[in-house]
Symmetry: C2
Subunit: 331 residues, 2 copies
Amino acid sequence: MAQQAKFVGLDVGGTTMKSAVVTDDGRPLSAPVVMDTNPERGQDEGLETMCETIRRAVAAANLTMNDVAAIGVATPGLMDIKAGLILDPPNLKPWKNVPVREHVARCFGKPTAYQNDANAAAYGEFWVGAASEAKSMVLFTLGTGVGGGIIIDDAIIEGEHSHGGELGHMRIAMPDTGRQCGCGARGCLEAYASATNVVRRAREDMAHWRGAPSKLRDYYTANDDEFTAKVIFRHAAEGDELALKVVDDTAYYLALGASAVIATVDPEVIVFGGGMVAAGEWFRSKIDVYVKRFGLPFPTRSVKIAFASLGSDAGFIGAAGCARLLVQKKA
Amino acid sequence: MAQQAKFVGLDVGGTTMKSAVVTDDGRPLSAPVVMDTNPERGQDEGLETMCETIRRAVAAANLTMNDVAAIGVATPGLMDIKAGLILDPPNLKPWKNVPVREHVARCFGKPTAYQNDANAAAYGEFWVGAASEAKSMVLFTLGTGVGGGIIIDDAIIEGEHSHGGELGHMRIAMPDTGRQCGCGARGCLEAYASATNVVRRAREDMAHWRGAPSKLRDYYTANDDEFTAKVIFRHAAEGDELALKVVDDTAYYLALGASAVIATVDPEVIVFGGGMVAAGEWFRSKIDVYVKRFGLPFPTRSVKIAFASLGSDAGFIGAAGCARLLVQKKA
């Protein structure tokens, strides 16, 4: 049998970019190489940093470019996936209309895939992560915002305007009564379930709390700046009633999002990724209970609710998987 | 050039089934043959009626079975699309686990496609109807219930449990405050925007109406049984303020549904079909205005909102299109 094909994945974020060489069966050949993105230095330097990160990743795997079959690059939106362009993402200012795919493809003379970062993470989990056994999956990424990706039969639902899987902006409440979202609208899932909004809701709940004495509430009073979703989840795990309410509400809101994707794409597996999933099984099972309560009965009976397994590597692994898709399909 | 391939489409409903032969470019060769479904007579007779309807459609086109390349059958859910089975749909009682695809395929010895009826209607509109120029589309069907179908790059999103495109059961309001849906849940789009629920909302609005004198309100008082969505839309078209409010709210709710599919699959075109679209452009433009207000700005700027153009023929035309997909792709 011929030598196994190898692919470079690059995941570009607002702060850093990460890259590694990944084997044909989805295994990174080294820890990812990490470089600062420094978007403020301009997009020409940004493109050069992308190429340099890729070069270093190949070196870190003790390979040369000749060993690489294809390259995959993932970036945050706004973007034009089909055209291979970063448009003008808020966290890559002042970049505008950056020809990522063309630049990387020319730099290395390799087939180059280009994908949205959350879609790439979803593809990573689909390929070799939490949904590797599935034929279809939806990923919700829980961070400062809520993102997502939809994979059906090895195809990424990119959307006609590169907005497929923008799951944080599904509305779970009416615009007149819903919470204010960062996008300007009201009622978006993100306005309830992002890490930022978990903290906001906790502060609101504290103000009206009439339940058992709460260490979380004491903590908050004394340590405002350190008050994060992580702190809330830790207190919940320790049995703090107020923290438990906040986490329980989070599971409820996420389940409403999940039930909406059940009624649209009806996937085999729904995966949640991001910082909050560190909470583990007790949080997953809370989401699962609400999904069972609020999803369409027939498909919900068998849908699987899982937590992501690739952590922050999902992006570059998925980008490498997209590179692989240029030449072959999921095994 | 060889003679153009021909396909039979059959659309099975709870009351009647309809079939016609359709050309390779989506043109029916006759008015559809219509036969009563009579589900109460049992599924064996039902299967025989399906075959008879197909036979008559072929005769109506002055053809023989030798002229037919493939057959497509669409039925309402619950169903198992991949297995070719009707499970136990509420409007086909007492049928259960009916092997539709296998029976029809054996009866005629032809390649036979099987699809959900709303998915088939969506594929019909995608193939040769309101979205024939599009690469991706979502259809909302507005009737007694609200159904739907999602088509991306010539593929129907069937879902892992045959529940893809069950768009009436996307939730547009929280379960605690949302309207009661026939499915048992609260807050589903269908609980707001089906013809049945348009009438229900109109009755509620009448009870609290403090606006201009309303002919609709007079009509309702005198003619309860004839009070339908059609009556409401006609009064709205004539300027009745109460009726206009009901229609405006309907457009608002439908736009919330549309904005949810923009954030999930981001289609090129969103099509609305069913009785209400007879209202025409003034209703379409109301929906359009709310979609522009509530959809994610970037994709919503260019998404098209259209009304279905195939009417009640969409189902059998789409079923024929699914038959055609067995052997070739959209031109």
